[in-house]
């Protein structure tokens, strides 16, 4: 069976999940009447099919499972958002369309991703400027002490989501060029491998940028994600574990300093260490997160059955619509969506979601292994690592594995920037895999394939 047919077949479980999920929520919440609910499902599946046809036409050799796995996450996200508030699901479905368009545009415009290597400093600068824009007066909009958003009139945008791709492209390109020097020209002093400082400089710049992000925009989650991807790439490029250890040590030193310098970060750590006695704002969120998961048990309360919306007299008076106000669990549609999944679907539901991320990571790293040149390997590994680490950072925060920081759960959480950025990331991975899996002897070009880029 061809790769594309396998992709099409793999979309069938996605279709079943969407229809089944929506129907289940529909049964529980009979108030959410209607044709409308089923239309979301159909709408979503039509977009998936369109993307599939586009990939069939443009990237015939691309990995067949990557897109269905991401679609599966998006389907889980849509069902959960429909369960939280049906208007969120409608918005998210529209965002998904925009994301699909961007995926297509990425593939059409970039044509050959190797070209990105040439613009690496431009891309890196763009990524860092985007981040700093969150502090520009007039654009900035701090949330819980962190500067995550820039406001452009009615639109709010999280630049960190796009920055992560820019920085991974830069690192992949830079390490591809310098990896020999970093790995080979190292000296051993007192049992420690010391890389040549000349080549290590730009990497210290990345560390500095991460620390600056911590300090300047107080975004711990993105910072951990960036730095984690950096270490992953450094390790893949040099195969030297000592660099990773040194990098982690540097990061912890920086983080401990920041903990004392920035109250917002110190609070996050205090809450993580002891959410029951911490007086810091936000302790309630992690408490509610754990209570919601405790209600889930092994199999969960059932889709739409666990307590989320505060009923009648328990509901506070507020102007904002649910779930921004009146939810027992704060931010159930963004930061805490994993807790809602566990509450409704239990440990099995949560483990299922984690398993999908593990499968995406497996496909992404398989692409890296199969890729034929160093830049492709590093880019695929970096994009996969940053994607997987984003999931680890937010789920880890929700389950109190690490301090809770506000990043989105890729493809599942509500949010435009996240879906769009991850669609671009997916587009790049698909392009790399198309290159990696293309047969060495090009097949007889038939009419369909003639349109392919050289």
């Amino acid at each position: 069976m061809s790769a594309r047919n396998r992709e099409l077949l793999a979309l069938i479980p996605v279709a079943l999940l969407v229809t089944g999920g929506f129907t289940a929520v529909f049964i529980v919440e009979s108030s959410k009447i209607g044709d409308l609910s089923l239309i979301y499902g159909g709408y979503f599946l039509a977009v998936c099919l369109a993307v599939h046809l586009f990939i069939r036409a443009r990237l015939p050799y691309a990995d067949p499972y990557l897109f269905p796995l991401c679609a599966l996450l998006a389907a889980i996200g849509l069902v959960m958002l429909f369960r939280i508030n049906d208007s969120l699901a409608l918005k998210q479905a529209s965002i998904f369309v925009a994301g699909a368009v961007l995926l297509a545009l990425t593939i059409l415009l970039v044509r050959d991703y190797h070209a990105l290597e040439r613009y690496r400093y431009l891309i890196a600068t763009a990524g860092i400027l985007l981040l700093l824009a969150t502090r520009v007066p007039g654009l900035r909009a701090p949330v819980n002490g962190a500067y995550l958003n820039i406001n452009l009139g009615p639109l709010s945008f999280q630049p960190a989501e796009v920055s992560k791709i820019c920085i991974v492209i830069f690192l992949a390109s830079y390490l591809h060029e310098k990896r020999e020097l970093l790995a080979v020209a190292a000296r051993r002093v007192a049992g420690l491998t010391i890389p040549p400082l000349k080549h290590f400089g730009p990497l210290l710049v990345v560390w500095g940028a991460s620390m600056l992000m911590l300090f300047y925009i107080a975004d711990v989650g993105s910072s951990v994600m960036f730095f984690g991807a950096f270490l992953a790439l450094l390790y893949v490029a040099t195969a030297r574990f000592s660099y990773v250890v040194a990098g982690l040590a540097l990061f912890f030193v920086g983080a401990v300093l920041m903990e004392h310098l920035i109250p917002h970060i110190g609070d996050r750590v205090d809450i993580w260490l002891d959410p029951w006695h911490s007086k810091a704002v936000g302790a309630g969120q992690i408490q509610q997160s754990l209570f919601a998961q405790a209600d889930g048990g092994l199999f969960g309360q059932g889709l739409g059955e666990s307590l989320l919306k505060l009923p009648g007299p328990f509901a506070p008076h507020c102007a904002q619509p649910f779930p921004d106000c009146g939810s027992i669990l704060p931010a159930p549609h963004t930061d805490e969506i994993y807790a809602v999944i566990v509450s409704d679907l239990g440990v099995f539901g949560g483990a299922g979601v984690v398993a999908v991320y593990a499968l995406i990571a497996a496909r992404g790293l398989k692409i890296a292994v199969m890729a034929r040149d160093g830049f492709s390997k590093l880019l695929a590994a970096g994009l996969t690592a940053v994607f997987a680490l984003q999931a680890v950072v937010i789920i880890g925060g929700v389950v109190r594995f690490i301090p809770l920081t506000g990043v989105t759960l890729p493809f599942v959480s509500f949010g435009g920037s996240s879906v769009i950025a991850n669609m671009i990331l997916l587009g790049l991975l698909l392009m790399i895999s198309n290159d990696a899996r293309r047969p060495r002897q090009a097949p007889e070009p038939d009419q369909e394939l003639e349109a392919l880029p050289a």
């Binding site: 029951w276 408490q287 754990l290 048990g297 009648g312 328990f314 566990v342 389950v399």
Partner: protein, 493 residues
């Protein structure tokens, strides 16, 4: 570069495994702790969103009902008690602010509609919102009304009783069904959700209205205890109704002189005469001759030494029997002669709940078999299907039918020609036993009047125990007697 990529995948898998591990910890292994965490309002809120079942009496009067509050698609339900203070005890209350007591608590699983997994999945598929089961009590609202008013009137009109409390319990001797249970002073369960009112009701000065005196308070049962002593004497075969002992007063019992009421002198009398006239010295000797072990054995058979087997919260019931000065039940070392007449001393003061003494009367009435007492006639689910129906269960066989018949005959004499002469139940022949326990220094003349009875004597339908906490220079028959007979009359109609 491929080897480090594979190792990177290994690391990511470890991280993902840690996420699943942490999720399992909170959702399964630590979930009980999290659910019990005082900060966790979820269980409370969820319970309020379920329409709690209705509580009705055997004669169809609605006692407790839930109404939606707040409106909208997700209402919460609040309890309303349409009979006010009439059922404050034993039904209790159920409010978010103050918790649950009484039958509201003991029947919570049914009232809250806690179902097994399978039914709840079916209900979800059918789109049925969770709803509690309805509980029909064995209690008769009319009898409850009579019981409460009779108690209040007795307390108001008896010298030295004002400001004290009292209780009356009526049982169906053949099923154990509680037909009436009143405790005075009472309280309106609708009022306790106001935390100020709740605090006030818990103050000593308020007379402890939240206390269910019928099940929670232990009092010296006085001469009503002689029914238990006589039952032990006859059933053990050591005595017959014709066994003769001296009835002179005082006599040395337990090393100290014991007198009859008012110092009245009797000659050599049989047990029938002794019970009819409630001769202390006779039963003091019987107690001493039976000995501690036999008395304890029969007390246990009648239900003493343990909480009644009633479907009621454990902390709202107290066991009966000889209590030492430390407040512990003792099975030896007490003055058995005085316990035999429902009194005692620091080493073992006989104390009993009104419910226990009603069970004594019911056991004799039921041919010697003590039935397990119960409040619940039936439980029906929201669709009207009966999910539970009262099925009478024997709690213990205390005495033989022959002994019960002899005791019934002797207790009928008490009413016809003894200490309870003058009491009547609508022309029906009934059996009873008076009690007048001394409280504190006998010189003060403060007594606790009791009356236990069952009617009709030939075919008992109802057994009752009534008591008032204190009165001045009074007797059981004149104060507690009319309370018991009025309740029996209301239940025999």
């Amino acid at each position: 570069m491929n080897a480090p990529i594979v190792r990177l995948y290994g690391l990511l898998l470890l991280l993902f495994a840690a996420l699943v591990g942490f999720t399992s910890y909170w959702a399964v292994f630590d979930s009980t702790n999290l659910k019990d965490n005082p900060e966790n309002r979820r269980p409370l809120i969820v319970e309020q969103t379920v329409k709690r079942g209705t509580i009705k009496t055997a004669d169809g009067v609605t006692v407790a009902q839930s109404f939606p509050q707040g409106g909208g698609k997700h209402p919460v339900y609040v309890r309303r008690y349409s009979q006010g203070s009439l059922f404050g005890n034993p039904v209790g209350y159920s409010f978010v602010q103050v918790g649950q007591t009484g039958i509201e608590r003991s029947e919570n699983a049914e009232l809250a509609g806690e179902r097994n997994e399978f039914t709840s999945i079916l209900d979800q598929l059918r789109g049925v919102p969770q709803e509690g089961d309805n509980v029909t009590l064995t209690v008769d609202a009319g009898a409850q009304q009579v019981a409460t008013q009779a108690l209040q009137q007795a307390i108001a009109s008896t010298p030295g009783a004002a400001g004290s409390g009292g209780a009356v319990v009526a049982l169906d001797p053949s099923t154990g069904a509680v037909k009436a249970m009143a405790s005075v002073p009472g309280y309106d369960p609708n009022s306790v959700k106001d935390s100020n009112v709740f605090k006030q009701l818990n103050k000593k000065s308020s007379g402890a209205p939240l206390l269910n005196r019928a099940t929670q308070s232990v009092y010296p049962p006085g001469s009503t205890m002689k029914v238990v002593t006589a039952a032990a004497a006859l059933d053990s075969g050591q005595f017959t109704p014709d066994s003769v002992l001296s009835g002179r007063s005082p006599q040395t019992i337990g090393g100290f002189p014991l007198s009859n009421a008012g110092g009245e002198q009797f000659g050599d009398i049989d047990m029938r005469t002794a019970l009819t006239h409630s001769v202390n010295t006779y039963f003091g000797q019987v107690g001493e001759q039976l000995g501690t072990d036999t008395m304890v054995k029969y007390m246990k058979r009648f239900g003493f030494y343990a909480d009644p087997e009633l479907d009621y919260p454990d902390d709202q019931m107290a066991p009966s029997g000889p209590y030492n000065s430390g407040g512990h039940l003792v099975t030896s070392g007490f003055d058995v002669g005085r316990v035999a007449i429902g009194q005692g001393g620091a080493e073992g003061q006989d104390l009993a709940t009104p419910l226990q003494m009603a069970e004594v009367a019911a056991t004799v009435a039921n041919g010697g078999k003590l039935m397990r007492p119960t409040f619940v006639e039936q439980v029906t689910d929201p669709d009207g299907r009966v999910t539970h129906k009262l099925s009478p269960k024997v709690a213990s066989t205390a005495i033989s039918p022959g002994t019960a018949a002899e005791l019934t005959s002797m207790m009928t004499d008490v009413v016809n020609e003894g200490t309870a002469v003058g009491l009547s139940v609508d022309g029906v022949t009934f059996a009873g036993k008076t009690g007048t326990a001394e409280i504190g220094d006998p010189a003060n003349g403060i007594n606790q009047p009791w009356f236990i009875a069952f009617a009709p004597a030939a075919d008992p339908q109802v057994a009752v125990a009534a008591t008032i906490e204190r009165c001045q220079g009074c007797f059981g028959a004149e104060v507690a007697g009319p309370v018991a007979t009025q309740v029996m009359e209301s239940l025999l109609k």
